[in-house]
């Protein structure tokens, strides 16, 4: 296993920059998840690490060795594709041992490694089947098995669960987490699903428009988002945001005129415009006139919790987590009271204000 470090990586297709100055350290044995909306460059970054895409600048090193100009096979990586990419004309056993056979590994060794991977992934009964005779989850396991037998320095996963149904996705997610513990492998994993990211990752890297917005531990990203993009992206339902104007020490008002007492950073002056962010669970509904004012649109009941959707005075929508009954009816005016200790403040550029 090895660490991966990426420094000032650049990649463009013609005049379009898809990766802009990417710097990333993946520690030995850690599980790093790249997340972001589609088109943010996360898959391109993964494919660049794999060597399937040539980069225009910067350096990628795996285990301390610069690999920019090495072929994928020489980088000691193994990739699991979204479509699994199993060779349809070979049975499971051949699929898994195929790369090794070409690397000139002795036959017994290949057989032993395939058997070992099959044991770990419970594929022993399926070794003689062709991919078309397998279910989606089984194909997924074969694809992972093919990666395991190569004993790579780094595993690369490209949205491996997105072709599975919901129940299987949860199972496989747990299996991948176990596998990571078992193999102690360095894993870089691409997904657009933030639940996968939050549950699997040692470190989440949030990407947007070819840049890394923030990289850190899952809960750090949740509790201390570095900017509005990360704040919006991590957490479901998304963080509520409203623009406020500073009126005095720890005092502000919304543009619609609601007065708020919020702990503001010391350097905030009256007249500064800031963005206030609050997660649905850090807001409570109150009597009209308290805190911010909104009009109840609908309440989604999920059982244990519910989400009240509000049209806010001054525009924008808020989602407030509610437990128990909501007395207000659709169209009623309600107050929204934030928990002052749990608020996020962002400056005019969307960067988090140090508090």
């Amino acid at each position: 296993m090895a660490q991966v470090s990426i420094t000032s990586l650049q990649k463009s297709y013609g005049s379009v920059d898809v990766l802009k100055d990417i710097n990333l350290e993946v520690e030995d044995g850690s599980f790093v998840v790249l997340v972001g909306p589609s088109g943010c460059g996360k898959s391109t970054l993964l494919r660049s690490i794999a060597g399937l895409e040539a980069v225009n600048g910067g350096a990628i090193s795996i285990g301390g060795k610069r690999v920019n100009d090495l072929a994928p096979a020489k980088r000691e990586i193994a990739m699991v594709f979204q479509s699994y990419a199993l060779y349809p004309h070979m049975d499971v056993e051949k699929n898994m041992g195929f790369g090794l056979r070409f690397a000139g590994t002795p036959k017994q060794e290949v057989a032993a490694r395939v058997a070992e991977a099959a044991r770990i992934l419970q594929l022993e009964a399926l070794l003689k089947r062709r991919p078309r005779e397998l279910s989606g989850g089984q194909r997924q396991r074969v694809a992972i098995g093919r990666a395991i037998v190569r004993k790579p320095q780094v595993f690369l996963f490209d949205e491996p669960l997105s072709n599975l149904d919901a129940a299987l996705r949860v199972n496989t997610r747990v299996e991948i987490a176990k596998l990571h513990k078992l193999l102690g492998a360095t894993i870089i994993y691409v997904t657009h699903d933030q639940v996968e990211a939050m549950t699997l990752a040692d470190k989440i890297v949030v990407m947007n428009q070819g840049r890394i917005e923030q990289a850190g531990k899952p809960l750090d990203l949740y509790y201390r988002p570095a900017n509005t993009f990360v704040a919006n992206f991590i957490g479901s339902p998304a963080m509520n945001m409203v623009e406020i104007e500073v009126t005095g020490k720890n005092k502000a008002r919304t543009l619609a005129g609601g007065e708020l007492g919020v702990p503001l950073p010391a350097r905030a002056k009256a007249g500064d415009r800031l963005t206030l962010g609050a997660r649905p669970e850090h807001l409570t509904l109150g009597a009209p006139g308290k805190g911010l004012t909104g009009q109840l649109d609908l309440v989604e009941r999920l059982g244990e919790v519910g989400y009240a959707h509000l049209d806010m005075a001054g525009g924008g929508r808020f989602i407030v987590e509610v437990r128990g009954d909501v007395k207000a009816k659709r169209g009623d005016k309600v107050g929204v009271v934030p928990d002052p200790a749990k608020l996020h403040l962002f400056d005019a550029n969307g960067k988090a204000c140090a508090s």
Binding site: A50, G51, L52, A71, P72, A73, K74, I77, A78, M79, F81, Q82, S83, Y84, A85, L86, Y87, P88, H89, F98, G99, F102, A103, R130, P131, R132, R139, R146, R150, N163
Partner: protein, 275 residues
């Protein structure tokens, strides 16, 4: 009811066409087993006890050269199929996998060969082949036929290569295969149904061709069977029994090849599926 009627109508049309297509073949086979008199007196009656005679077959098989001609035809046809498929698949792979300048243009240039009949270049081909001292060789025939069939093969196969998921090639690249190994171990096996189609397309015109054997290998024991049959056609006397017998037997190898390839074709269609 209506669908049943249309089923019957469709089958009637197909049966009619089949009868039309098979009629000359049946006529040839039938008459090859009759006495010479019977061939001329009642060409449309099947061989009966009075008219049955295998003299044509005896004459064909006692002629030592005919065996050679069969061999020549088989070598030329198989050689052509082999090289057409190999180079066609290679070119198809290169054109659809690698993005380089003039990629599209090159594809277009190759497809011109589909539209321009190679026979227009016969004179140039003869002078080229004779310049290379390859007159009366089977290699000359194979070269010309490969050139003739390659454009369509490239065209069809590159479309099929395109349908093979890109992830498969990239998985193979991650597995450490060289580009040649990707081609031979991943692409070729998956192209099998497409190659069977191209093989059938290629085989029949090559087997039946008279033009290029006549121009490029008319003697020296390098005649193909279609040309070899001509020896029974004389200016004054034609040995119809032998001609018909030779033509009848000439059907068999093609039929065998066809059966072999079409098995691949059907097997290919039911396998393959990815993901």
């Amino acid at each position: 009811m209506r669908s049943r009627f249309s089923t019957i109508a469709i089958h009637a049309v197909l049966l009619g066409y089949t009868a039309l297509a098979l009629f000359p073949i049946i006529l040839v086979v039938m008459n090859s087993m009759k006495m010479k008199r019977a061939i001329f007196l009642s060409p449309l009656t099947p061989p009966g006890p009075a008219s049955f005679d295998l003299i044509g077959y005896h004459r064909v098989f006692s002629d030592g050269a005919i065996g050679t001609y069969y061999m020549n035809s088989i070598i030329v046809t198989l050689g052509t199929i082999f090289f057409t498929l190999l180079f066609g698949a290679m070119a198809g792979f290169a054109l659809s996998e690698y993005k380089f300048r003039f990629n599209k243009l090159l594809g277009l240039y190759l497809s011109i060969g589909i539209m321009v009949p190679i026979r227009l270049g016969s004179v140039a081909i003869i002078s080229l082949v004779s310049g290379m001292n390859m007159i009366n060789t089977l290699s000359a025939l194979i070269c010309v036929y490969v050139a003739q069939n390659l454009p369509l093969a490239v065209f069809i196969l590159s479309e099929f290569v395109h349908q093979i998921p890109k992830d498969l090639r990239e998985a193979a690249r991650c597995d450490g295969l060289s580009e040649y190994n990707i081609f031979f171990h991943i692409i070729l096996p998956l192209l099998r149904p497409a190659m069977a189609t191209v093989a059938v397309f290629t085989m029949i015109p090559v087997w039946n061709d008279l033009w290029f054997p006549l121009l490029l290998a008319p003697s020296g024991g390098k005649q193909t069977i279609t040309l070899g049959v001509q020896q029974f056609l004389g200016q004054y006397v034609t040995d119809w029994n032998a001609v018909l017998a030779a033509l009848s037997t000439a059907i068999i190898p093609v039929l065998i090849f066809y059966v072999l390839f079409s098995r691949q074709l059907i097997r290919g269609l039911t396998s393959g599926a990815v993901k």
